[in-house]
C-alpha cells in the first residue's frame, strides 16, 4: 500500500513537505499513541522522523478549534421606545419613555447593560433615568443571575438628584413563557428598594404581536428625594401591539395604565401630579 503522504505546498516560496505518515495496511497497524512532548506541527514539518504507526493521534497545539462555539456577541434590545401624547383633559405635556437592555458575552457569562427612562410630567418627576451595568451568569437552564451597579437620576422640584445603588437581580423565562426581570436596589446609605417586571408576547399573526407588560416597584424606606414612599410605589400595566416588519424592527401602538400607591401617591399629589393615569403610547421595538 502506498504511503499516505500529506504535502503542504506553499505557493509563494519553495515547497515544504509535511511529515510522511506512513501507514501499513489496516491489519498491520501496531497502535501506539504518540507522546506529544514538544512535538508541534512545525517540528514534524522540519524533520523526517522515524515512521509513525499511528497518524497524528495527538492534538497539534497550533491547530484552530474545529468549531467556533465560544463566540462572544453583542445584543441590544430596545423593548420600549415610545412617545406618550398629552391627554386632553389636563395640562400635561407629551412624554416619552424607554426601556433598553442588552448584553455582551457568550452563553453563560455576560456583561449586561440596562437603561430605563421617562419624562412624565403628570406623574412623578420631570424625568427619571437609570442605567445599570451588571455581570450575569446563566443558571438553572432559564435564568441570569445579575450583580452590578445602578445610577439613577431624577429631576424633581426643579433640582437634579442622583444616586448610586448596588443591584442584585435575576432575569429569565419562567413557566408559561413570561419574561421576568426582578432586581433589588440597595442605596449606598442602605436604603432598599426593588422592581419587578413581566412581559409576555401573544401572537395574533406571525408578525402582529401583542405584548403585555406589567411592572411594579416597592421600597423598604421612604426616599422623598426620589418621590419614593415606603411600601408599594407603583404599578404599570400596558398592552403594546407591534407589527414585526422584520424581526428586528417593529413599530407599535398601545396603552399604559400607571398608578402610584400609598406614600408615593401622596408625594406625587403634593407635587401636583396625578397618581393614576392612562396613557396612549406609540413607539418602536427594535433589536440588533
Amino acid at each position: 500500500m502506498a504511503s499516505a503522504m500529506a504535502c503542504l505546498v506553499s505557493t509563494g516560496t519553495g515547497a515544504a513537505f509535511a511529515s510522511a505518515q506512513t501507514a501499513g495496511t489496516m491489519d498491520t497497524i501496531a497502535l501506539r499513541t504518540i507522546a506529544p512532548g514538544p512535538n508541534t506541527a512545525r517540528s514534524i514539518l522540519a524533520t523526517s522522523e522515524p515512521e509513525r504507526t499511528v497518524p497524528t493521534v495527538s492534538l497539534q497545539q497550533d491547530w484552530p478549534s474545529p468549531v467556533n462555539d465560544q463566540e462572544h456577541r453583542l445584543f441590544t434590545l430596545v423593548d420600549v421606545l415610545e412617545y406618550r401624547p398629552s391627554t386632553a383633559k389636563r395640562e400635561s405635556t407629551s412624554d416619552y419613555r424607554w426601556d433598553i437592555e442588552g448584553w455582551y458575552g457568550g452563553d453563560y457569562n455576560r456583561l449586561w447593560f440596562k437603561s430605563e427612562g421617562q419624562r412624565d410630567t403628570a406623574f412623578k418627576a420631570d424625568y427619571d433615568v437609570d442605567f445599570q451595568l451588571l455581570y450575569g451568569r446563566f443558571i438553572r437552564k432559564y435564568y441570569d443571575i445579575q450583580v452590578g451597579g445602578r445610577v439613577e437620576t431624577q429631576s424633581f422640584r426643579g433640582a437634579n438628584v442622583t444616586r448610586g445603588q448596588t443591584v442584585i437581580g435575576i432575569e429569565g423565562l419562567v413557566p408559561y413563557n413570561y419574561d421576568v426581570e426582578a432586581a433589588l436596589f440597595i442605596d449606598l446609605d442602605g436604603k432598599v428598594s426593588g422592581r419587578l417586571s413581566l412581559t409576555k408576547d401573544f401572537l395574533l399573526t406571525q408578525r402582529l404581536i401583542l405584548q403585555g407588560r406589567f411592572e411594579t416597584s416597592a421600597a423598604v424606606q421612604r426616599v422623598e428625594r426620589f418621590t419614593t414612599g415606603s411600601g408599594l410605589n407603583y404599578l404599570e400595566f400596558g398592552m403594546r401591539l407591534r407589527y414585526e416588519i422584520r424581526r428586528e424592527f417593529a413599530p407599535y401602538i398601545g396603552f399604559s395604565l400607571d398608578r402610584s400607591f400609598g406614600e408615593t401617591a401622596t408625594l406625587v399629589r403634593q407635587e401636583g401630579g396625578d397618581p393614576s393615569q392612562i396613557r396612549l403610547v406609540t413607539g418602536l421595538r427594535a433589536w440588533f
Binding site: 506553499s10 497502535l31 474545529p66 452563553d107 443558571i139 432559564y142 423565562l173 424581526r247
Partner: protein, 623 residues
C-alpha cells in the same frame, strides 16, 4: 424486483464503461447546474466538470452566486455550486490537490470515505486546515464504492456553497440495472452570511420560524378539538417554555432550496427516454435542512443508503437528514414529465426538479403539506399506553395509530403495508434469523442527570423509533422509508456482538440556541470519547432535545442496530429523532482522532461536536 436486480450483464457493463449514457447524463446534470449560477466572470474559462483520474485539482475561491435576482458572496469549489463531481474508481489511489484562494483558512472533508485521519480534513482534529495561498494534497486509497460527497469543514463555508458530489464506481458492478443516472444534490442557500444566521438564532432562537402558533390557529384548533383541550394543549407548551412548531432553525424565510444548485423556479431538468430506468443519487448537502423527497406517480426503489448497497425497498417517499445519501432507481415508462419534489421537513419551502423526456416540459408541483406539530412523544413523556390526559386529537397528541395490528416484516420490505408507528420488532419471529433485538425498543427512563444548564429538558423516557417515519410523515398514505427497512445487501464481516456500550445524550437549550452532547459543548468537554482499537462497541445516542439531529461519525461506519440481524446497514450519518434512543454498532478499526458531530452546521458550530479517539493506550487494548 428480482428481475430488476439480477446480475449485471456484460453488455450493460460495457455500455456503462463506454460511458455513453453516463457521460451524456452527467453533462445534462452539469450544464443544468449552472443555469442560474455564477456571474459570467466566475464562469470564464471553466467547463462543465466531472473530474476523475489519478490526480484531481480543486480550487477554492470566492465568487458571487445568484439565485433569482439576489446575489451574495459564495465560497466555491472550482467556481461552481455545487462543486465538480468527483468520480473515482474503487481500488484506485486518489490524489486531490486543494488550493485555497480565499482570504481565510479552508478545508475539504470527504464525507463517508474511509481514510487515514490526517486525510480526513477536519481542522483542529486531523490537520491544521489549508491556509490561504497554499495547496494541501490529499492522498488516499479508495477502498469502497457508492455515492458520497465532499464539503468544507471550516466555519460556515459549507453554507456558502462549498459542497459537491463524489461517486466511487465499484470494481464489481452494482447488482442493479439502470440506463442512466443523475446526481440529485439538495441544498439550502441564503444571501445572509453564516455568521449573521447564527447570530440571529443566538439572539432570538425563533428568528426564522414564521409558522408559530397564533391566535388564529388557536381558534382553528379549538373548533377542531374543542376549546378546553385546545387551551390545555397551548398552555401545556407555554408552561414547558417550548415551541411545538420548531422543526427547522432556519427556514424558507431566508433559504432558497436548491437542487443541483438550481432554484425551484429555474427547475433543474434531467432528461430520459421513455422506458428507461434511471438511477438518482440523492445527496442532502444542505447546511440546516431535512428534506422529504418524493416523485408524484413514481415508486422509488432504494438501493443504496450512505453509499452502501441495501436490499431494495420500494417506497413513495423518504426523509433525508442533512448529509445522508440515498440512491434510488425509478422506472419511467411514460412519455411525460415527473417532478422531483423535496419538501423541507418544516414545510416552509421545497427544492424541485424535473425528469422529462424533452427539455422544457414540466409536471405539476405538488401542494405543500401543513407544517407538523411536536407532540408529547417528542418530549419523551410517558405516553405509550394512553397516559395522555385530555390529548386525544392525533394532530396534536401524536398518538400513533392505535388500531393498527402488529404486522410482520415482509421479506425485502416490498409491498409492505403502510405501517407507521406500530411496534414492529418486539414480537419478532424466532425463526427469522435476520432479526435481532433493537436496543431501546422498550422505553428507557432517563437517569437523574439533567445535563445541567446547557440542556433545557430531558426525554423522561427515550425509546427507539426507527420503525417510525418521523414527525410530519406519520399517518401519511404514502409508503415512507423507515430505518428498519434498511438491510445491508450482504452481511458485513464483523458480526461480533458489541462488547460494551457508550451512551451519549444529544442535548441543547433552545432558549439560547445552545447545542451540545451530555450538556457540554466541545469547548467545555474537549476530552475525546475513547474507543479501543479493534473493539466492537455499541454507541447509544439519546436525544433529549425536541429536534431531529443527523449525527455523523468520521472514519468508521456506524451500523444501525435496526433489528436486521447479520444485515445491519452501514451509515455515516444517522438521524436521531426527538426523545429517541438509537444504537449503532461500530468496529473501531481506524486508529486516530475523528470528529463526531451533528451535521446541522450551526448546531456543530454552536458546540455539538466531539472528538472520538481510537487507540489502544487506555485500559489495555482488545481485539
Amino acid at each position: 424486483m428480482p428481475n430488476t436486480f439480477g446480475p449485471i450483464s456484460r453488455r450493460l457493463l460495457l455500455k456503462r464503461a463506454g460511458a455513453l449514457g453516463l457521460l451524456t447524463a452527467m453533462q445534462h446534470l452539469l450544464l443544468a447546474c449552472r443555469i442560474n449560477s455564477l456571474i459570467p466572470s466566475a464562469l470564464a474559462g471553466t467547463q462543465p466538470a466531472m473530474l476523475s483520474g489519478e490526480v484531481i485539482d480543486l480550487d477554492i475561491g470566492e465568487y458571487r452566486f445568484t439565485v433569482g435576482d439576489r446575489s451574495a458572496p459564495a465560497m466555491t469549489i472550482n467556481g461552481t455550486i455545487p462543486g465538480p463531481l468527483i468520480r473515482l474508481k474503487e481500488g484506485q489511489e486518489a490524489t486531490l490537490r486543494v488550493t485555497n484562494r480565499l482570504a481565510e483558512s479552508t478545508s475539504i472533508h470527504w464525507h463517508g470515505i474511509l481514510l487515514k485521519p490526517d486525510m480526513d480534513g477536519v481542522p483542529g482534529v486531523s490537520f491544521g486546515g489549508i491556509a490561504p495561498g497554499t495547496t494541501f494534497i490529499y492522498r488516499f486509497p479508495v477502498q469502497q464504492s457508492g455515492t458520497y460527497w465532499y464539503h468544507s469543514h471550516s466555519g460556515g463555508q459549507e453554507l456558502q456553497g462549498m459542497y459537491a458530489p463524489m461517486i466511487v464506481d465499484p470494481i464489481e458492478p452494482d447488482p442493479f440495472q439502470y440506463d442512466r443516472e443523475y446526481v440529485v444534490m439538495l441544498s439550502d442557500w441564503t444571501v445572509e452570511s453564516p455568521e449573521t444566521v447564527l447570530s440571529n438564532l443566538k439572539k432570538l432562537p425563533g428568528y426564522y420560524n414564521f409558522q408559530r402558533r397564533t391566535l388564529g390557529q388557536f381558534f382553528e384548533d379549538a373548533s377542531r378539538m374543542g376549546w378546553w383541550p385546545a387551551l390545555q394543549d397551548y398552555l401545556m407548551w407555554d408552561q414547558m417554555r417550548m415551541d411545538p412548531t420548531d422543526f427547522a432553525d432556519v427556514t424558507g424565510y431566508t433559504f432558497t432550496y436548491l437542487l443541483n444548485g438550481v432554484s425551484p423556479a429555474a427547475n433543474w431538468t434531467g432528461l430520459f427516454r421513455p422506458g428507461e430506468k434511471v438511477r438518482l443519487r440523492f445527496i442532502n448537502a444542505a447546511a440546516m435542512t431535512f428534506f422529504d423527497v418524493h416523485i408524484p406517480d413514481l415508486k422509488m426503489t432504494v438501493v443504496q443508503a450512505d453509499g452502501q448497497n441495501v436490499q431494495p425497498v420500494i417506497v413513495d417517499e423518504f426523509r433525508m437528514g442533512v448529509a445522508e445519501t440515498f440512491d434510488v432507481i425509478v422506472e419511467l415508462p411514460e412519455d411525460r414529465a415527473y417532478t422531483i419534489f423535496a419538501e423541507t421537513m418544516d414545510r416552509s419551502g421545497y427544492a424541485r426538479g424535473t425528469l422529462a423526456p424533452r427539455a422544457g416540459i414540466t409536471a405539476a408541483v405538488p401542494p405543500r403539506r401543513p407544517r407538523p406539530v411536536r407532540t408529547m412523544a417528542d418530549m419523551g413523556m410517558p405516553m405509550e399506553h394512553g397516559g395522555m390526559g385530555g390529548m386525544k386529537d392525533p394532530h396534536v397528541s401524536g398518538m400513533q395509530m392505535p388500531g393498527m395490528e402488529p404486522s410482520s416484516d415482509t421479506p425485502h420490505g416490498q409491498e409492505m403495508p403502510h405501517m407507521h408507528g406500530i411496534q414492529e420488532m418486539p414480537g419478532m419471529k424466532a425463526d427469522d434469523q435476520r432479526r435481532s433485538k433493537i436496543p431501546g425498543i422498550e422505553p428507557v427512563k432517563h437517569g437523574p442527570d439533567d445535563h445541567g444548564t446547557g440542556n433545557q429538558m430531558i426525554a423522561e423516557y427515550s425509546r427507539n423509533m426507527m420503525h417510525e417515519p418521523g414527525r410530519g410523515l406519520e399517518g401519511s398514505s404514502r409508503r415512507v422509508l423507515l430505518y428498519t427497512d434498511l438491510k445491508s445487501l450482504t452481511p458485513y464481516p464483523d458480526q461480533r456482538e458489541p462488547e460494551r456500550e457508550i451512551e451519549l445524550h444529544v442535548t441543547g437549550n433552545m432558549d439560547r440556541y445552545m447545542w451540545s452532547f451530555d450538556g457540554e459543548t466541545y469547548s467545555e468537554s474537549q476530552d475525546p470519547i475513547r474507543f479501543r482499537y479493534g473493539e466492537r462497541l455499541r454507541l447509544t445516542l439519546v436525544n433529549d432535545t425536541m429536534m431531529e439531529h443527523p449525527l455523523h461519525l468520521h472514519g468508521m461506519w456506524m451500523q444501525l442496530e435496526n433489528g436486521t440481524g447479520a444485515y445491519l446497514p452501514r451509515k455515516h450519518t444517522v438521524i436521531v429523532k426527538p426523545a429517541e434512543r438509537v444504537s449503532v454498532a461500530i468496529t473501531a478499526d481506524a486508529p486516530g482522532r475523528w470528529a463526531f458531530h451533528c451535521h446541522l452546521l450551526l448546531h456543530m458550530e454552536a458546540g455539538m461536536f466531539r472528538v472520538v479517539e481510537v487507540s489502544d493506550n487506555t485500559h489495555g487494548g482488545h481485539s
